[in-house]
Point group: C2
C-alpha cells in the first residue's frame, strides 16, 4: 500500500464513443476502492468513526473489538494519508488525540451502510441455517 495517493490502474487510455463493455471502468473503480479500503480493519474503523462521531484513540479501540493498538495506529495513519480521517492532537495534561471523519470520508457513508446492511442480512440468513 502506497503512502502516496496513487491509482492502481492507469487511467482509461481511450474510450472512443462510450459504447458497451464499460464494466472495465467499473472494475477499475472496484480496484481503486479496494486499494483504499483493503485489509481486515479499515471499513470497520471508518464505520465506527462515521457512526460514533469524533472520538479518541482508546474509544476507537473499544468500538472495534479485537484490534491491536499497533494495527489501529497503522490503519488510522493510512486513512489519514488518504484524507478520509482527520487527526487532532489536544495538548492536555496526558496528551489526548481525537479522530474524526473528514468531509471526504463522509462520502464513504453510503458504501459502509450498504456493506453493513448486507452483512446483517447475511448474518440472519446464516443463522437460520
Amino acid at each position: 500500500m502506497n503512502n502516496e495517493t496513487t491509482l492502481v490502474c492507469s487511467p482509461v487510455s481511450e474510450k472512443p464513443h462510450c459504447g458497451a463493455a464499460d464494466h472495465r471502468e467499473r472494475v477499475m473503480g472496484i480496484r481503486d476502492a479496494i486499494d483504499v479500503l483493503s485489509g481486515k480493519w479499515k471499513i470497520e474503523i471508518i464505520g465506527a468513526l462515521l457512526f460514533g462521531g469524533r472520538m479518541r484513540f482508546m474509544d476507537v479501540m473499544r468500538e472495534v473489538p479485537g484490534i491491536a493498538a499497533k494495527m489501529l495506529s497503522k490503519e488510522l495513519h493510512d486513512l489519514e494519508a488518504h484524507q478520509l480521517v482527520k487527526r487532532t492532537v489536544m495538548d492536555t495534561k496526558p496528551i489526548t488525540v481525537e479522530y474524526e471523519i473528514t468531509p471526504y470520508g463522509k462520502s464513504l457513508e453510503e458504501v459502509i451502510i450498504t456493506i453493513a446492511n448486507w452483512g446483517l442480512s447475511h448474518r440472519k440468513k446464516i443463522m437460520k441455517g
Copy 2:
C-alpha cells in the same frame, strides 16, 4: 477463512429495547461482510460475474486482469461455498465450466455498484489533485 458458513461474531446477546448504541450491530454486519468478501479479488470477481453474466473460467480471467489461475480457482470455490456463485460443468469435448451469480449473490449487486461508484469518483478526485 472457514469453509463452513459460520459467523465471525457471536449473535447479539441481548438487545432489550432497541435503543442507541446499535452501531455494535452494524460493526458486526461489517465484520461478517468483510469475512465473506475479504481478499484482493472476491469483489472484482463478483462484479465481473454480475455485469458480465454467465461465463467460463477463461472469460472470468480476462475480466479480472492480473489474477492468477490458482487464485481465481480458489476464490471461485470460496464464493461457491458461500452460495454466491454457481458452478456448472458442461461435458463438451474439451470440458468447459461455466460460472454465474446465484440469486443470493445478486443481493450483493447494490454493494458492488456502490463500491465501484465510489472508487470511480475517488479516482477522479485523485487524478485532479
